[in-house]
Structure formats: structure tokens, C-alpha cells
Symmetry: C2
Subunit: 228 residues, 2 copies
């Protein structure tokens, strides 16, 4: 399988860019250093001018790739969820037991990210920080309905559906598989945020992980302990 996975690349909705950033060195630099800069100064203070200075390129050159910083954020968010979906597919592929499969999926979603060397221009750990701290700003906008129609969130929706399907395989009679799946994706990010910044209102920390919490929640909600 190794060889097969080497030349994987994550496909992102072409609506999100003017020129595919994967198609040139400058493009990869924009994405790679854009991620580092957003993590450093936050999305509000992030501008293409600053990014241009950062990569010793020009503001206007970046505008040839992305229309504005909002689309840039949606782009990297899509990339992240595409990457997660890929990991989910690979790591649950061989598992036939539905219980085991679902728990593995929860693990992939809730565990801290580690660097993926196959994508050298992207630092996935930093990207994960951005997803935790900034990604909700990509959909909490007045344009969410039109952007949803344009398919800006389709990768994320597909991922929720995959998890929902796994839930239904374990508990066909459970009526809230979509809500549970979407809550786990969002909730995991939220718990990670609280652990790092408002620790007094979460039980998640280094020893008790978010994975532990969500696996326990899943087992109890779907009554998985009885017939595993």
C-alpha cells in the first residue's frame, strides 16, 4: 500500500482559488507560509500584504491565487478535512467489526494531529491549530447559504456522513446519527480549544484525552458495551 499512498493529493473545490496553488512553487509557498502566519498572528490580523512580505513575494501575486483571505481560509479548511477523510478511510479500511471501526474513526477524529511527511509544503500540526481556533469563522458568515450551495463545505459534509454511516451500522435504531457525528467533529475541536485556553470547564487534559471522553460518550450513547 505504501507506494500507492505516496502520490496522493487532496482535491479541493476549484471555486476556492483562481489558480491552483499546488501547481507552482509560489502557490505552495503561499499555502504553507499562509498557514504559519495565520497561526502566528490570528486570522483577523492576517493580510496578503503581510504574507507577501513573509515569503518575499508581492501582495498582488497572492491575489492571482486567491480572491481574498476568506477563500484562503475555506481552502485550507477543505484541505484539512480532505486529509482527515483520507486518514479515516485508510485507518478503518481493514476493520470489519462495526464497533471497532467506529471507535477507530473517533480516535482518528479526536486525537492530536501528527505531521504527515507526504505533504512537505504543509505543516499539519499548525494547520490543526488553525482548524481549532479559526475554522468556524469560515462558515459563521452571512454568505454561508450561498457558499454551501457552491459546495464550499462538501468535503466536511461527506466526512460527517461517513461517521454517521458508521454510527448507523452499530446502532440502526438510533435516530440522531447525523447530529451525533457533526457534534463529535465540532465538539472535539471545542474540547481541544478549552483544554488549551479555558481549562476549568473541560475534563480533557494530557492524561484524560478528548478521545477518552468521546469514546466513552459513544459507547454509552449507542450502548456498545452490551454486544461488542
Amino acid at each position: 500500500m505504501d507506494k500507492l499512498l505516496e502520490n496522493i493529493n487532496i482535491t479541493v473545490n476549484p471555486e476556492l482559488y483562481l489558480k491552483n496553488p499546488e501547481s507552482s512553487e509560489l502557490g505552495k509557498n503561499i499555502v504553507g507560509h499562509g498557514i504559519l502566519l495565520i497561526d502566528e498572528i490570528g486570522f483577523e490580523k492576517f493580510t496578503f500584504k503581510k504574507l507577501g512580505a513573509n515569503i518575499k513575494s508581492n501582495e498582488s501575486s497572492i491575489y492571482r491565487y486567491f480572491e481574498n483571505k476568506h477563500k484562503f481560509l475555506v481552502y485550507i479548511t477543505n484541505w484539512y478535512w480532505g486529509w482527515k477523510e483520507f486518514q479515516l478511510t485508510v485507518s478503518t479500511y481493514g476493520i470489519s467489526n462495526p464497533h471497532e471501526k467506529l471507535l477507530k474513526a473517533i480516535e482518528v477524529i479526536t486525537h492530536p494531529v501528527v505531521e504527515d511527511l507526504r505533504f512537505r509544503h504543509i505543516n499539519e500540526v499548525t494547520l490543526n491549530h488553525i482548524i481549532i481556533n479559526e475554522s468556524s469563522k469560515s462558515y459563521l458568515t452571512k454568505e454561508v447559504d450561498s457558499e454551501n450551495k457552491e459546495g464550499y463545505f462538501s468535503i466536511y459534509k461527506r466526512l460527517v456522513n461517513r461517521v454517521s454511516d458508521m454510527i448507523r451500522e452499530v446502532a440502526p435504531e438510533y435516530g440522531f446519527s447525523l447530529s451525533l457525528a457533526s457534534m463529535i467533529l465540532d465538539g472535539a475541536l471545542h474540547q481541544h480549544f478549552l483544554r488549551d485556553h479555558i481549562a476549568s470547564i473541560t475534563n480533557c487534559n494530557k492524561t484524560t484525552t478528548a478521545s477518552d471522553y468521546f469514546k466513552d460518550l459513544m459507547v454509552k450513547t449507542l450502548k456498545m458495551e452490551d454486544n461488542g
Copy 2:
């Protein structure tokens, strides 16, 4: 009890304003119309200049009350959670059965908001929209740690703790009461958002409510059906 409740007002951290907006007509106008304007155009496009035009007052007059629009958002978010905490206290006050009490709390948190005529300058239904769509922007910032120290989120944290306490009364052996409580508060907002904008990844709608989902989740997670 009615008389007692008539002159309630919600106390918000004075760090958040320069002059208490409750102390004058202009101040109440700023808050009341600020809420309507944010709901109308979104927080990103909201400016004090536009709000000034809206209430036929001057931009600089608004700056006498609030340092910037971020503090304004934190202020109205605090007001909202203070108001919710008050509702929670009142509606669970007489209930001695812990199961019943917790389910009532979940209901208060997850049910759609209705207007509270005791606060005439604030439209709570609109404010609830803002909490769903914009409130996470009040803490997803680079300043979250220092603002947390200054007590910007203390009302919210107190509310999470109250719910967590109720959870522990029902299930003392459950180890994730804080995470569960914080997830319900955040998750309820998220499910409401999805219902309104990305409906394909939630089971919540007019007939199956977010309340139904979260109550079911609570009952199963804490095994409340066995010994209620």
C-alpha cells in the same frame, strides 16, 4: 415571585464598557440597536459608524460607551449568558429530583428563545441568533488567555459549572461532567446553526428538536432511565 423578578438586571463585568450602557437612554439604544444591526449585516461588516447612523447618533458617542466592537460583542454575549443563567436558576429552583432538574436545565439551554418583556431594550430572540452565529468569535482570538484572566468569560464558566454540578448529582461516578456540560452549551448552538444553514448534517428540525437530541443523549450517557 413576580414582583421580585420585575426589577432584575443582568450584571456584566464593568471591564467591558467605558460607561454602563444601562445608565442612559443612549446606552440602551446602542445595545438594543447594536444587536439588531449585527444580526442584519453580520459582525464583520458591523461598525460603530453604521450603528451611529442607525440610531441617529454619532460614531464618537458610541466610543464613549465601548472601546471597540469586540468588547461590544463580549458585552452582549455576557448579557445573554447572564440572562440564561437567571432563567436556569428560576426554572429549576423548585425541583428536588436531580434527574428532573437536569432535564429541565437541558431544556432551558437547548430550546429556542422567546422574548423576555422585562428587558425592553433587548430583543432576546435576535440576540440568540447572534449567539448562534457570532458569539464564538468573542473567544476565538489571540487575546483569549488575557481576556479569560480579566474575567470576560466568567459568567459562561459559572453556567457550565452549574450544569456540571447537576450532572454530578445525577451520576457522581461519571468522570466527564465538565466536558459534557460545555459540549451541550456549545453543541446546542452548533445544532441550531446546522438546522438553519447546513441541514443535511443534522437530525434537528421543527419536529425533532435539539432538545430531544440532547435529552436523549443525556439520558443514555448518564444511564438515567434505570433509576429515575
